[in-house]
Amino acid sequence: MAVTDVTTDPLVIAGRELGSRLLLGTGGFRSLEAMAAGIGASGTELVTVALRRIEPGARGSIVDVLDRAGVQLLPNTAGCFTARDAVLTARLAREAFATDWVKLEVIGNDRTLLPDAPALLEAAEQLVDEGFVVLPYTNDDPILARRLEDVGCAAVMPLGSPIGSGMGLLNPYNLRLIVEHAQVPVVLDAGVGTASDGALAMELGCDAVLCASAISRAADPAAMARAVRLGVEGGRLAFRAGRIPRRLYAQASTPESGVAEF
């Protein structure tokens, strides 16, 4: 069936319908007010949160702000460098936020923040066994994506380029392979620098885009949130619409017969 309206084309992850195909990371906003404005402009229904050691006298609660925004929470395991730490953090997040959903990150290098593939797979398998809905932040490796799906992940979230780098989609070919073979939703996670990166991810066939820094660290986060939202929606519509093939030579768009002769 033709899809001409994004409102009739929901994203479904683990049986849960989401009206927006843009997932928003909350890291990097200068204030909770800026975050709330970004959430509103993005139209997102699912946002990430993190856990850190409590500090005495911590200012306003992010959870209250997110509840008021009416969004669902996706806790992450950011900052974990081992499967053990990621699993424990996920269990703590389940307790803190009363959700089984987790954005699983197991990082292998503190400069690139690239995932540690074997540890990621180990943690994913463990958390699936414990009943979590696991959304792993993964390398743009089609084989690893398949392995993560095989152990029961509810989606795969390959990077376009390293977290916060804004370099866009460095390996569209790999992403396309992941999309072609995945039986679970593919969420482009990390690397988006601007709206066109979100559009490109969706045109490649990704099911959603998770974006944080491009929005939260933009000069005008709310404006960029709207821009990325429109990019993602445009890319999705273009993917569903079926683009024309690339040709080496021109193909006239005006009929070539019946041309006047002077």
């Binding site: 850190r52 269990r91 803190a96 936020f97």
Partner: protein
């Protein structure tokens, strides 16, 4: 007794519960967005009131922040 809270030693009265520690840390009642682990095990909020801390326990008290 001494317990390690987020890596820092704290002197607490014997019999102090997890809830008592959270009160001392000024964490509000329901504690949504807060999680506690003792010696790398999650302490469900349903037993915060009844779980007593042992001398030498390593306690992590985490809260929600922006991230990801």
């Amino acid at each position: 007794m001494t317990v390690l809270v987020n890596g820092e030693p704290h002197e607490l009265a014997p019999g102090t519960t997890v809830r008592g520690l959270l009160d001392a840390l000024d964490v509000p009642g329901g504690g949504r967005g807060v999680a506690v682990a003792i010696d790398a095990e999650v302490v469900p909020r349903t037993v915060w009131e009844t779980t007593e801390l042992d001398d030498g326990a390593r306690v992590e008290v985490l809260r929600a922040i922006q991230g990801g």
